[in-house]
């Protein structure tokens, strides 16, 4: 039996019936990681001892009949969730030996449900990148083509899920960092509404945009993880205090998704199908639109006129927040410190020069510049105004439709090294996902086809605030009607 591509529900079922133990399942993945991770570089840290210990505890819990559907499920965690006692690097030299004395709320909730953490996955340094190439630990590779990027910044999590090096993974998404790699690797990725999931213990890139979410092989699996991850957290003042629907139960035992998608109004924003969209991506997404129509949904054109301003707006706000968020890496209390500093200034300068990679430094400089006296109004304040206009665009569209359907990324996975010399071209990878973060909306990426290589293509569903359930229902109906999500790399 190939355990590597079990759905979470199947695995939970096997565990509950005791036809498989959590320790066996965990060992299975640890062995796969031992064999395959060298080629993919999906994990930065594998916690064999911790995973087996958690698996044993899960088995005990299963034996006591106190299990949740996540008890004994082996997960991979993006290496920016702080895990108590387990090295958390953010893929940076700055934190290469950082062991947090606390646990992020999201990982704590999953662990409390009995999930097993296999290890910490590769990513772009401090989540700044769209290709996983800015990692201090080297790029993660795409299981569909090892010379290709797995997307970023949650590239390691995406590669691990696609290659079957875990059952599911956690990612974070600031401008597309869950959805774009999900699209690049043919998996399902959900960025919840800003505030739906606690940010406590998630190492901050851009605080007003960062959001954690599941990266899985199906919508159903994503629903199961979200159900446990979501909810108000007194430790995060920006988390939303609203009831958490039983996403997974509703999807599997409520009104069938196929029923719910009937008569759903789906908006197709014209601005997302302009020049620059690769032909195979356009074809696959248009085919997906046809599928939704076959399912009984009404697809209609809508307009989001401010779409073009997303990239410049994002590249003011996100670096501004990052420049401040990353000021704490000063060599004083934790993390890297340069050798033999001459004085305080020298310690700051060399610690940060040595500790941060080029892309992080670029964004710190960008952010410092846009917040500077004399430039603040022209950049930061203006960007905040445009951000509101972008959110207004979505509000207007959602007056007409229930959700929006777009490509997740303009093209399929590019070659490692291909865009390293041109940051702006790299930034365009996120052109379809960034707006969703700026507006704080939920977005779901689903596999919807392949190009000629073949490399996976993703479509994105965007919903109203806190309407994750609608996205999940539509996505689940799509996956029941298609098998793109079941394709595996050879």
């Amino acid at each position: 039996m190939d355990l590597s591509h079990l759905s979470l529900a199947q695995a939970a079922d096997l565990l509950r019936k005791r036809s498989l133990s959590a320790v066996e399942l965990t060992r299975f993945f640890l062995e796969r990681i031992a064999t395959d991770n060298a080629a993919l570089n999906a994990y930065i840290t594998v916690d064999e001892a911790g995973a087996l210990q958690a698996a044993q505890a899960a088995d005990d819990r299963l034996a006591r009949g106190e299990a949740t559907p996540l008890t004994g499920i082996p997960l991979a965690i993006k290496d920016l969730f702080c895990t108590q006692g387990l090295r958390t690097t953010c893929a940076s030299r700055m934190l290469a030996n950082f062991h947090p004395p606390y646990e992020s709320t999201v990982t704590r909730r999953l662990k409390e449900a009995g999930a097993v953490v296999l290890g910490k996955t590769n990513m772009d340094e401090f989540a700044m990148g769209s290709s996983n190439e800015t990692s201090f630990f080297g790029p993660a590779r795409n299981p569909w083509g090892h010379d290709r990027i797995p997307g970023g910044s949650s590239g390691g999590s995406a590669a691990a899920v696609a290659a079957g090096l875990c059952l599911a993974a956690l990612g974070t998404d600031t401008g597309g960092s869950i959805r774009q790699p999900a699209a690049m690797t043919g998996i399902t990725g959900l960025k919840p509404t800003y505030g739906r999931v606690s940010r406590f213990g998630m190492i901050a890139f851009a605080s007003s945009l960062d959001q954690a979410g599941p990266m899985t092989r199906s919508v159903e699996d994503a629903a199961l993880l979200l159900q446990t991850m979501a909810g108000h957290d007194p430790l995060d003042s920006t988390s939303i205090d609203a009831p958490v629907p039983a996403y997974w139960d509703d999807l599997t035992t409520g009104v069938p998704a196929a029923e719910r998608v009937k008569n759903m109004r789906i908006g197709i924003p014209a601005e997302y199908f302009a020049d620059g969209l690769a032909a195979p991506v356009r074809q696959a997404v248009e085919q997906a639109i046809a599928t939704f129509q076959d399912l009984g949904a009404h697809c209609q054109p809508v307009s989001l006129p401010c779409t073009a301003y997303a990239i410049p707006t994002y590249y003011v706000i996100a670096p501004a927040e990052a420049s401040s968020n990353l000021a704490r890496y000063d060599g004083v209390r934790f993390g890297h410190r340069c050798a033999d500093p001459l004085d305080l200034r020298d310690m700051y300068a060399r610690t940060r020069s040595e500790g941060f990679g080029a892309e992080v430094k670029r964004r710190i400089m960008l952010g410092t510049y846009v917040l500077s006296s004399g430039y603040y109004d022209a950049y930061y304040r203006k960007a905040q105004k445009v951000r509101r206009l972008i959110a207004d665009d979505f509000r207007a569209a959602f007056a007409q439709v229930d959700l929006l359907l777009t490509p997740t990324a303009p093209e399929t996975a590019f070659r490692i090294g291909e865009k390293n010399d041109d940051p702006v071209r790299m930034y365009l990878s996120d052109i379809f996902t960034i707006n969703v973060n700026l507006a704080g909306l939920p977005g779901l990426s689903l596999p919807c086809g392949f190009d000629e290589h073949p490399l996976p293509i993703g479509l994105q569903l965007i919903g109203r605030p806190l309407q994750e359930a609608t996205l999940l229902a539509a996505g689940h109906a799509f996956q029941q009607a298609t098998d793109w999500h079941q394709r595996r790399p050879s």
Binding site: R199, F200, A206, T238, A327, R328, V332
Partner: protein, 493 residues
Amino acid sequence: MSPPITSQSRYETVIGLEVHAQMRTRSKIFCGCATQFGAEANTQICPICAAFPGVLPVLNREVVNMAIKTGLAIQGQIRLLSEFSRKNYFYPDLPAGYQISQYELPIVEHGQLVIASPLDQGPKKIGITRIHMEVDAGKSLHEGIQGASWVDLNRTGTPLMEIVSEPDLRSAAEAGEYLKKLRAIVRYLGVCDGNMEEGSFRCDANVSIRLRGAPILGTRCELKNLNSIRNVMRAIDYEVERQIELIDNGDSVIQETRLWNADLNSSRAMRGKEDAHDYRYFPEPDLPPLRLTPERIAAVAATLPELPDAKAERFRTQYQLSDYDAGVLTASQELADYFEAVAQQAATLGQPNPKVAANWVMVELGGRLNKENWDIQQTPIPAHHLGQLVAMIQQGILSGKTAKELFEILFTEGGDPLQIVERKGLRQVTNSTAIEEAVDQVLAAHPEDVAQYHAGKTKVIGFLVGQIMKRTQGKANPALVNQLLQARLTRQE
């Protein structure tokens, strides 16, 4: 040095004060750590204080309530929507690399304080531009450490209120009055202990001068390291003289921050305008905007105590005290409470005379406490004992002299006032036979003075009274002594 500015001077002094008041909450502003002073270095910290990766601030409700309270006490407008911002700069005792503060939208705006102006001789309104909440930094330790510095983060996260005045103050004396008044208010409210020496009530002064009547402000200098009201006043006077001298010599004032040195009684430039930080303020994304409801503000308003001005007004009417006495007695909540307890005790004993009570609290007790360098909370005499003392003066049981004797015993040894009076025989002699005896003895002993009196030198009567009091060991009622002596002398004529 030029002579100090007087009301006749060509120049006018313009001062604005920024006060940082540490709020007396039990826990810090953004985490649950304790705010107590004096703990061993870095023992009152957590990952949030130390700005570890991924941790987030959570605003302490009590801090907001205290800021609202203070805003209401200075008649400010409480904003229903305010926000926190980040003030970015690198310093080892600022762990996050930014201070969370309020910038564009502070919680309180447009307040005011009325001071008794020493120059204008009348009440004067001083505008308070804003009050905002912010977080204190830690402490860097350099002394006695070779080739390194140490950082203590215990203070990091202590809530502060920054209270910014308009440039309405016109002299060091006014600045002193303003600070005393503000300190009294925050102490009345219990939001700050007002201790300048320990740094829980810190003041920076912005000082400029201009030709009297000039429409625009002169270039200002910011004075720092002022750790007492006296130092604030001295530093302002020094700065005014320095600026006058510069201008009179044809130089101009350069905008800069100057550090006051109390030992040298002078200040030195710390940094110029060009070295000023670019703090890159922007709204704190980890905290949603702070929204208040009128109901919440009303609930806080209901907890406001009677404030110094209102209390002084009440003391004037209820106790018939002078402006001066009412002002002195309401300088602190504790002193005012003490006075009221003394007055009440005296009244309970059927001898209400608040003026006498006020004198005993301000002059006798105040002077004695001063000598010991104690404040009213440290008084060894409970208010009801002093009240009994005052009542006994009114009842004629004690004379001025014996009352002081009793006071000294109460201050140094304590005990029940009535028992002390009996034990020490302090009860005033009101028996006229005993006094008449003493009068006769004194007149017999001083015939030449009696003769002088009859010759018209009535001044000697003071001497004779003194002798009689001496003979009765100060226990005779002076009024009675006078009366009997006059009667006897008249009879002799």
